[in-house]
Amino acid sequence: MAEAPLLAIDGLEVRYGAVEALKGISLEVRTGEVVTLIGGNGAGKSTLMKAVSGLEPASRGTIRFDGQDITTLAGHRRVALGIAQSPEGRQVFADQSVRDNLVLGAYHRRLSTADLDRDVDRQFALFPKLAERRAQMAGTLSGGEQQMLAIARALMAQPRLLLLDEPSLGLAPLIVREIFAAIRALKAQGVTILLVEQMANQALAVADRAYVLETGRITLAGTGSELRRNPEVRAAYLGKV
């Protein structure tokens, strides 16, 4: 048997009051993989990401990270274990500078200023636009720049698993291309990524494996290219018949 998956979710259920947002999800992500989760609005994609980061409690099922059961572990402790997330809608700290946002990303690492500077420069190399704006308040950035900042901030945690929740949401096509170029660059570096997207075509193109999520259930799974060829996926998510 191959080595255990980095992230293993088994029978996960999450409820908002009476509403069951996730109805028994099982999926896994292996070290070095890019796995994508596609699905329409309200399918439960963001809920799943929140559950993995500990922002939503699981009502049933387990989440294991690197073999350890983290289902009930507090959210901030999961970051220390190596799970970082760029959340839906960016959620950068608008009142703090670009640099301070990045510094907060490395909060749990307690770095010296020299080490912080080195890691911040590494993010600026990935996203040169951010370097020009390092002293600017994050709230004054464009949507695309905020998205880059949100990803860079998550990378500052030096994650073993990077969660990207809808990084293309609300962005112009040209910017979306830039974001996906960055995701491919991260993949080439060997970063393990779980990517949630509505832009199914580009997400499937970058993914090693993919899952389709519909109203709280996984309905299809396969490699990225398999799902791209799947007629149901083409009709429902790629706009092709």
């Binding site: 507090a74 901030h76 220390a80 608008a94 703090q96 510094v103 907060l104 909060y107 749990h108 905020q146």
Partner: protein
């Protein structure tokens, strides 16, 4: 002219007190969208615990009068630590009993529960120390210092120096340190702060500790000027709250500015017609809220989609 100078100075000293308490409102409001409506009673607690520490150090009983020789700068500093520590612990108790069960829920249960906690504190103080005001000598003595023809009360100088030093320290911590950035992150977005690996619950408890300690500090700073009284809290806290609203509840610098404005306004109007002080303060609030509802330095949040 001389009178004006004195009033300006008294106003700034009083403003320092309001600023400390107002910033306390900002700190807990930022992190939990709640604040302690019984904050005034924490000033009372701070003042009386300090008085008791001073009596203890002078070897006197709990209801004995304090004499000037009992209050040296050293023992005052010790009582200052004691007073702020006790109010900090009260802040933790307040958070777990009166805030955490209700914060973030619909309704305003936390308003009632924090007022209730304050009443408990006040009645406990009443039972221990009784209703009569306790004069508290200043550690710097009561000899008026003459400068440019104007007379300055030493305690007012102490109040101004200590409050400004604490406020500057707070400002530096919030802007420059890892902890301060984390507190601001929690204030802006709890979920995103958790995603940074910040222990949000610990930061929130810390916010109540800080806010309560500031109130305690304000209480014992003001006590030598106003005398320590079980009933002194409400008015001071109400004016500090007004200061936070005028300056901008979401901005710590705004709360500081509001505090000093309140103090100055009160002292200057008091020169002219003492009975108009409160009227002037609440007129100022109405004018500011009409022109800038978010407060002088407050910000209307604009969210980018």
């Amino acid at each position: 002219m001389v009178v004006l100078l004195q009033a300006l100075f008294s106003g700034l000293a009083l403003g320092g007190i309001y600023s400390l308490v107002a910033v306390g409102f900002n700190i807990t409001h930022g992190t939990t969208r709640t604040f302690n409506f019984g904050q005034g009673e924490f000033l009372v607690a701070g003042a009386f615990v300090s008085v008791s520490v001073l009596l203890l150090l002078a070897g006197k009983g709990i209801n004995a009068p304090l004499d000037a020789i009992d209050v040296t700068p050293t023992v005052y500093a010790v009582s200052l630590v004691g007073g702020t520590l006790v109010t900090a612990v009260l802040g933790v108790m307040l958070y777990f009993t009166a805030v955490r069960p209700f914060a973030g829920r619909p309704g305003l249960a936390w308003v009632m529960s924090t007022i209730g906690f304050g009443i408990l504190v006040q009645n406990t103080a009443l039972a221990i120390w009784g209703p009569s005001p306790v004069p508290m000598p200043s550690p710097l003595g009561n000899d008026v210092i003459r400068l440019a023809g104007a007379g300055f009360v030493p305690q007012e100088i102490l109040v101004l120096v200590v409050s400004v030093a604490v406020l500057i320290a707070l400002d530096v911590v919030m802007r420059r340190t890892r902890l301060g950035k984390a507190m601001r992150a929690v204030a802006e977005n709890r979920n995103a702060a958790t995603l940074m690996g910040i222990d949000v619950s610990a930061v929130v408890v810390g916010a109540f500790v800080l806010s309560s300690a500031f109130a305690g500090l304000a209480g014992l700073l003001v006590a030598p000027i106003t005398t320590a009284s079980v009933y002194m809290g409400l008015t001071l806290a109400l004016k500090a709250f007004s200061a936070a609203i005028v300056g901008g509840l979401d901005n710590p610098r705004g709360c500081m500015l509001g505090g000093f404005l309140m103090g100055l306004l009160e002292a200057l109007v008091g020169l002219w017609h003492a009975e108009l002080r409160e009227i002037a303060i609440f007129l100022l609030i109405i004018v500011v809220l009409a022109v800038k509802p978010e407060g002088l330095l407050g910000r209307r949040r604009v969210e980018k989609v």
